[in-house]
């Protein structure tokens, strides 16, 4: 006979094995490579190399662009989330589909589509020149990278915010109005605070992939603009310096962990 504990161990073993092989092992390897040199001796040099000007520049640019993208995503997603949450039964299906449907397409393809739109001789400029309007030169600039990030990660901001807003009972909003709050006060004192958990997970889900991306910056930045993700990628695929690449990854992980700690703390405060 099984006892329950044994059964659940047996049942979860494929998952545990999966987690071990694909999460724990690679993480262990990154830590190992990051903290050793070619000869296998322990060193902090890989991590310290973040201080090199070109690495530092790439890190700061990545932080800047991912922060900007996160803010833009938030500013776009919040009103949309409110609209979606308001007509809970109305045309929500259509709007949701419009934003979710692109997610079913490979994200490289979607980014490629933006490239062809924004290229100097691309579709947008084609239309502009046909209309004798000044052309835009966005491709291969940080702005193009931000567009790519916002476009790709916006749904990850909308969904948690929508979920948080949809959970707020209409009566609670009515209660605030009843107690004398105007629409703006109701929003600031009730709607916004009650949606903080959704905002936090949205921010995390946009900020982290934006911070670490290399595909978007490669395609939209034309490999002239290097983010920290690009540097790490190049260490692995071009210079074959796994030690340096892993060391820089560890530095990046610190920022991810900081982000997660901040949201965990604010979430705890919320529920207190």
């Amino acid at each position: 006979m099984f006892n329950n504990r044994k059964t659940s161990t047996v049942m979860s073993s494929p998952y545990l094995a999966w987690a071990f092989i694909f999460i724990v092992v690679p993480l262990g390897m990154i830590v190992y490579y990051g903290l050793t040199d070619d000869s296998g001796a322990f060193t902090f040099a890989n991590i310290a190399s973040i201080a090199q000007p070109e690495h530092l520049k790439a890190l700061l640019l990545a932080l800047e662009l991912s922060l900007i993208s996160t803010v833009i995503c938030f500013l776009l997603a919040y009103p949309l989330g409110m609209m979606l949450a308001k007509n809970k039964m109305g045309n929500q299906g259509i709007i949701t589909t419009l934003f979710i449907l692109p997610m079913w397409m490979n994200f490289l393809l979607r980014t490629l589509a933006w490239m062809t739109l924004l290229e100097n001789k691309g579709i947008i400029n084609g239309v502009l020149s046909a209309m004798h309007l000044p052309l835009i030169h966005i491709i291969n600039t940080p702005a193009a990278i931000v567009i790519g990030m916002v476009y790709n990660f916006l749904p990850f901001m909308i969904l948690p915010i929508y979920n948080a807003l949809a959970k707020i009972d209409d009566n609670v909003i009515d209660a605030a109005r009843d107690l004398g709050a105007n629409k703006f006060q109701t929003f600031m004192r009730v709607t916004l605070p009650l949606s903080v958990p959704g905002i936090l997970s949205g921010v995390t889900m946009v900020f982290i992939p934006a911070l670490t991306t290399f595909a978007i910056s490669t395609m939209m930045g034309g490999s002239k603009i290097l983010l920290i993700g690009n540097i790490i990628e190049q260490e692995f695929t071009l210079s074959y310096d796994w030690h340096l690449g892993s060391g820089l990854s560890l530095v990046l992980m610190v920022f991810i962990i900081i982000n997660m700690i901040i949201s965990a703390i604010s979430e705890r405060k919320e529920s207190d």
């Binding site: 009972d169 009566n171 609670v172 009515d174 209660a175 109005r177 107690l179 004398g180 009650l194």
Partner: protein, 357 residues
């Protein structure tokens, strides 16, 4: 007569083509405990939301203290609401919940502190300032919702089935608490319920609604003793509702037997409904009453016996502290003033509108 405070004038409201309220007229006086009573879906909450300002009527006016407030936003009205499901702010503690309206009005710290204390005392929850709403029981949350509303000193407190989620004992306790608070505050309560007993216990004035129409208004005694139509009679307590014929003034033929009554002005040989409350049906020895019958059922109910008596082809419901064995042959007697005669509506629609028109 007390001063008129709220007037609903010719209020109509429909959702998606369904008429919910149709030309509703209602006057509410100062310092009154008014109850809107009716079955589920009859438009009670809708009426309350129109008074609170959360819904605009399609037509008609809402007059408050002589002023037309039909278009006024809810935050500018001198009424506060206790919502059907409490609707506390879960991200604030109890003190912050109660202080919400006062902070909006920029009251001083000291004033707010005093008010919180006073309100918590009024609802018997002293010392709960720093608890979070979701750590309180349903009854406690309900009382906080009341406290949160009354600190704003509204002229009118709207309560939407505030005791609906509570168990019987807590319900009864809260009924007395609410009456006490009402007397202490000296303000108007507009109370919604579909529980007729609650309505009879608490109200100064009851408004019975059905399908968006007011069926009858009056004191609990009026409503109970003199229901104006079969719906009200049936909705308020147990009753025998029997089709009958008004022979002439003060004489009604019920199930083939003439009964003396006190009603006049229905005309001669007119079809009517009569209502007789079960406790007004007297069972007497065969030969000493008006209509012969046989006891067919008996249940002990604690305070009284509930019996069913077959008489004149109708199953009479009888409440009495004295029991008669099943099968015993009895006579039914009803005192003239206990027979309530009502017009019989000609159709379903007319039934909804009621005879009050």
């Amino acid at each position: 007569m007390k001063k008129e405070l709220i007037q609903l004038q010719h209020i109509s409201k429909s959702y998606d083509g369904h008429m919910i309220l149709d030309d509703l007229n209602l006057t509410i006086h100062e310092n009154e405990f008014v109850t809107l009573l009716g079955p589920s879906g009859c438009g009670k909450t809708t009426t309350l939301r129109i008074i609170g300002g959360f819904e605009r009527p399609d037509s008609g006016r809402v007059i408050f203290d002589g002023e037309d407030i039909t278009e006024l936003a809810p935050n500018r009205r001198q009424v506060n609401t206790v919502f059907q499901k409490y609707a506390l702010f879960t991200h604030m503690d109890i003190a912050e919940n109660i202080a919400f309206g006062l902070k909006i009005k920029n009251k001083s710290q000291a004033y707010i502190k005093d008010k919180i204390k006073y309100a918590l005392k009024l609802v018997n929850l002293e010392g709960y300032e720093h608890r979070m709403p979701d750590t309180l029981s349903g009854g406690q949350q309900q009382r906080i919702a009341i406290a949160r509303a009354i600190v704003n000193e509204p002229k009118v407190l709207l309560l939407d089935e505030p005791l609906g989620a509570l168990d019987l004992k807590l319900r009864q306790e809260m009924q007395y608490e609410l009456i006490r608070m009402k007397n202490e505050l000296g303000i108007t309560f507009i109370y919604v319920t579909h529980d007729q007993e609650e309505a009879l216990t608490m109200s100064d004035h009851i408004v019975v609604m059905n399908k968006g129409y007011i069926q009858q208004e009056g004191t609990p005694e009026d409503i109970y003793n003199e229901p104006e139509n079969a719906f009200v009679a049936d909705f308020i307590g147990d009753s025998n509702i029997i089709t009958a014929t008004m022979v002439r003034d003060e004489l009604v033929n019920i199930l083939g037997t003439n009964f003396a009554c006190v009603d006049k002005g229905f005309g001669e040989n007119k079809p009517v409904d009569v209502v007789i409350r079960p406790e007004d049906v007297k069972l007497v020895e065969r030969g000493k009453g008006t209509l012969p019958g046989v006891v067919s059922h008996i249940i002990f109910k604690g305070v009284h016996y509930e019996m069913e008596v077959q008489a004149g082809g109708f199953e009479w419901l009888v409440h009495s502290t004295r029991m008669n064995e099943v099968g015993s042959e009895v006579d039914i007697r009803v005192d003239p003033f206990n027979i309530q005669v009502m017009n019989r509506p000609a159709s379903e629609d007319e039934e909804a509108i009621g005879v009050a028109e």
